[in-house]
Structure formats: structure tokens, C-alpha cells
Subunit: 367 residues, 2 copies
Amino acid sequence: MSNAVRHSSDNQLRDRLQNLPIMSTMGKPPTIADVAKLAGVHKATASRALNPRTSNQVTPATARRVLTAAKRLHYQPNNVARSLSTSRSATIGVLIPDLTNPLFPLVLRGIEDALGTHGYTALLANTDDSPERTQAQFDALLSRKVDGFLMATARREDPLLARAHEHGIAVVLINRSTDVPLFPVVTGDDSAGMAAAIEHLTDLGHRRIAHLSGPSTMSTGFGRAQAFRQTAAAHGLPPADTPVVECSSYTEDAGAAAARRLFDENPAVTAILAGNDMIALGALDVLRERGLDCPDDVSLIGFNDMRFVDKLTPPLTTVHVPHHSLGAEAARLLLEQFASADRVPKTVSLPLHLVVRGSTGPARAGR
Amino acid sequence: MSNAVRHSSDNQLRDRLQNLPIMSTMGKPPTIADVAKLAGVHKATASRALNPRTSNQVTPATARRVLTAAKRLHYQPNNVARSLSTSRSATIGVLIPDLTNPLFPLVLRGIEDALGTHGYTALLANTDDSPERTQAQFDALLSRKVDGFLMATARREDPLLARAHEHGIAVVLINRSTDVPLFPVVTGDDSAGMAAAIEHLTDLGHRRIAHLSGPSTMSTGFGRAQAFRQTAAAHGLPPADTPVVECSSYTEDAGAAAARRLFDENPAVTAILAGNDMIALGALDVLRERGLDCPDDVSLIGFNDMRFVDKLTPPLTTVHVPHHSLGAEAARLLLEQFASADRVPKTVSLPLHLVVRGSTGPARAGR
DNA sequence: GTGAAAGCGCTAACAT
DNA sequence: ATGTTAGCGCTTTCAC
């Protein structure tokens, strides 16, 4: 028998006898084997005692012994080993298109709140709305064996999601959906939001209303544009007076570019309905650029009610989306899916409401 | 028994009997053994061929065979297994105090950019500046065997960090540091930033300048306040004219509360230097509340130059902090630490500069 | 109720 | 250069 081994068991003996809190400052973290040894039971028994789901398979007395041993050693289960063994990780991957857009931190909070109560952890990845980056982050998360995904990055035709669906990976979509329904999706009721916005504008006397739509490759861009056209028509506004200009992305720059195109071709509009608040920000810049007052010359409505838009000048009228709920509801759906193995892509649509602030006003006669 | 439950178990039974399509669409992902078999080599050889670091130990011909086999099978390495085997995970944990503060997404981007080129992935966790939540997230990440941490959540006395240091866990601090230097830290040169801000104010004729400091439990709050006092003294401003009011947190609400206290006790100040932009936002609200014009009655300076503050009315004068670089530099330091196992907590201090916008103006005679 | 043993997928000595 | 073997730390049959 080697010196090292003898020495080590001497230490253990002494520790057990003296009932000392033992924790080396630098040595490798204790394993379940250490706990088992200290408690005087087999690894397997320790495992059962430590796991809430199986702790009833063990006598209360040994359970306590194991638990106190674990506490004494400051035992922390190695989730990597556990994952390898169970092929589940109690973590879920969250893919967010752009964390710098203030609405997504709220979504994340919703997710974490809903997940935390069930012992799951969120692993967040930012994709910058780049398909390559999305794929890379997806793979990275997958290779870490996340149990499922919460994705706010879907495109209407999304090869990544198609593959994920083929492979039977659990996914819940947030906000954006695919054309072919593959996964459950939690979204806002964009049509209703659009309708409320247009109604507000027509009530104010506007008859020439433009929409700066989000990218048509995304369900939100496409859907809101569609809702815009339908609602406008329903209000008797001819297509010629309700132009739609598509933005290349949901960014301030893209919004500004689209707004310039709009005014070049359609200088007579009296109101703009932006595809989201970022686009609205860009439009607001262009309004200033062209010497147009908001709301006196042109009314402006955003979408999302993201943080800080109430602090703009003028404060932005916008469609409020309950982002926290979006995240929480999606997380709930995912957990539900784990439990029931139910493969029916249900859709949850959350109600939206218009928040009227200072960027909308009566249509001016002269324009 | 409810309908729903019966229905669900019927489904399960049917699936099991029919050896269902689920199994066919989602057979387990291929392992390295599958790749090896297809390539006609041993697992270990396949492993060597697949790993860039060891691929030279294998003949080019077999390397190609293995690679193509891997491609044919769409093989994705199981990082959980790899981690268990190597006790390294090529992931690093990132702890962020508050993702809704727009500066942190920038930090994260810096981190990801610096990490990505080295094959590391960031696992992000939001802590809401709550010690409990921070501890929980830290443990969760640790049990997933992250190789190290990037933390922007440090408190001046931080038991969590003390423990982490004892356990020899690799950490690099971002922005905030501990009183006792435990880990490398990347921060902005707050003293210089403060000095620039005060100089700007005195140049404009201000002699009664208040500081709404961040929490003194955080190095940023404490350090900036200290720099404020020193610089003010150096400019010949007496302490009585340069009050410091501490905010309970870096939030708009806390900033507003502090601003109210300030004006109640010290109505004569002509300029406010906020501990960060969020606090400045709160101060701005209070200015409006009290009928004071900014900058005509009171000048206001923020700290960080976070997104959107240029869109306020008035646009906020603030100290710009290079957040992207903060993150990137910290990530670089951490990777460096992996390589050299060097345990000297070096400090990197990045230069800051004042961005003058519309919230600062000449001191008014009457005030 | 508890122990023994196998195995999750991979890497890393150690052979050959 | 490649095959063999032995784990990494945990869970989970299967015995007893």
C-alpha cells in the first residue's frame, strides 16, 4: 500500500473522529464518492439520497447522514457528469437576436423567472441576427446538451429550425415564428396592435399613413405589414395613400434609410407607423433631418414600447408588447413540452395595447 | 381519472408498440465511435484526427478518412463528455449585474468577440445585482465546469469572490473591483473621467457641484465619489459646496430619490455629476419635477455614455466608457491567465473621455 | 434499502 | 502512427 493512500485514509479517519468541517482550499472538489465514503455508504446510495426524486428510496437515517456529509464537504454535484449520465442537463439555451435592443433583456428576465422555479438554468447567446452566428451558437449550446431552446431569432424560412425539428429538438419560439408551423410559439397579437395604431391615427384625421415595415423575412415584419394593409383597407384607405417601405433590419439606421426613401417618393404622408421602436428612432432622425415636426407635421408610432422611448422628444406613441410575459410564457411552454412529450405546436398570442404619448397628433390640414 | 391523462398514456402506449416515427426521425446523434467505425479506425485515432491540437499525430490519409466520415454522419462532438474527460469546457461564465442597462450588452459583445477567435464560448447570466442571485448563477455555472469567470458584479467586499479566490477559480473582474485585490481587473480610468467632468463644469463657471454617487459598496460608486472629492478640492471648491449624495443602486429610481434629497438640503447647486447615466436619468426627472431647466438652471453630467442618452432632451453630457474594449480586454486577460497560470492580479485601466452634449451649460448668475 | 457493476462519450497515458 | 485500456463523476439497472 502506498504512502499516499495510507496518509489519505489517516486523514479521513481523523476527520471523522473529530467531526471537523473539512474542506481543502485548493484540492479538487469533492465527488459523490467522497461524500459516500464519509457517510459510510456506497456511491449509489449517496446518489439516491442526494437526488430529491430518489431520496425516498433510502432510509431517512442514511439520507440525513449523506446530506450532512455532503454539507460538511461542501459537496456540489458535477452537472457535467450528471448530464453525461442522464443525457439531460437542466439547462435550456436561449437565442436572442440583439441584446442591445432593450426589449430582450425583459424577455430574458421572464424566461429566468419562469425557469428558476423549476430548477432550470438559462444559457444565453446573442446572435446579432446573423444566421451564421445563430447556427454557431445553436451548435455550441447543443453540444453542451441543453434540454431545449427558447429562440427569438426565427426567420420565416429557417433552415436551422427545420433541422432542429427533424432532429426532434425541443424548441419554443418567441415573438417570431416560421411560415410552416414547426414549434410552439409565443407572440404578441400584432394584428390587434396594428389595428389599434391605425385606428388611433384615423381618429386623429390621418388619411395618408405609411408603414416602415420590418424585414419581410421575419414573421413580425411580414405579419405587421400584412395587418397594416388589411386594416388600412378596412378603414377605406387606398393602397396609394398607405405605402409600405421595407427596412433591411430592425435597426435605427435601416429605419432612417427607409424613411428617406419614403419621403423621397411619398412626401405627403402625415403619419408613420414603424415596424418597431428602433425603426421609429431612425424615422424620427429623418423627420428632424427634413425639418418636419413630430407630431405637428408627421405623427409617428412605434412598436414594442421598449425602454427609454418614453424619454424621447417627443415621447413615442407605441404599441406595448408584454415582453416579460412573452419570455415567461415561452419558458412555461417548453417545460410543459418536456413533461408531456406532446408534439403539437400550439400558439400563444398575448394581447397588445397602444400607449399614446406625444409623437401622435391631429392631421394637419395643409399636408 | 381525467380525459387528458388517459389520452396521454394512450399515446405513449401506441408510440411504444409501433416503434414510432419519433425514433426514426430522432435517432441518437452519432458518437465518435460511429465515426471511427465508418472510417475503419479506432475511437482514439478518430479523436486524435478530430482534435486540431492532436491531428498531427495521425497520418494525413487517415485524418481525411475520419474527417469525411464525421461529415457524412454530421458528427458533432459531445462537449459534455469532452468536459468530463478533460475537466475543461472551453466555456467561460459571464456574470452581468443588469442586462437592461444598455452598457452591458456592449461589454458582452466585446467578450464574445475576443473569446470567439479562441474557440471559447460565453455563458451569460444576469444577476440583477442581487448577491443571492449572483451566488446561485455562479454555482450553476461552476457546476457546469466553466473554465473561468468574467464578472461585472463585484462588490468591494465580496464573499463570493473571496471564496472563488480560495478555490483557485480563474476570474477576471470587469469595471468593478474588490478592495483587496484578488483578481485581475479591467476598468475605466474613473478618476480621469471625473476630473474631466469637473474641469468642464468649472470651466463653465460652476462652483457648487453635487455628486449623486453610486452605492459605496461598489468600487465604482466609492471610487468615483472619492475622485470627485479630491478633484473638487484640487479645484478649490469647498466640501460644503460639493455635496455627495449616495444612491442606493445604479437605477433611475434611486437616482431620483437621491436628487430629491439633494435639492431638499442643497437647493443652490448649479451642476450635478451623476454616478452613472441611469442616475442621471433619475436626476433629470427630478429637475423637471422641480421646475428647473437643464442646462439653464442646472447642468447635468452622466457617466458611461450608454446608448440612447444622446437622444434625451437635452442630450446628456457624459463620460464615455469604452465598454466593448472593457469586455474584450477582460476576456483576453482571462485567456492569458489560462495559458500562463500566473496568479498576479494585474489591473488594466482604460482611458475615458468626456462627451459634451446639451445637458451642460454656463453657470447662471442668479443661482 | 443498499451494494455491485455497467455505461454515458470522450481523452489520455501506455503499449505496440 | 495506431490500438488498448482506463478513467472523468454521475446515474441506473440489477442483484441481494
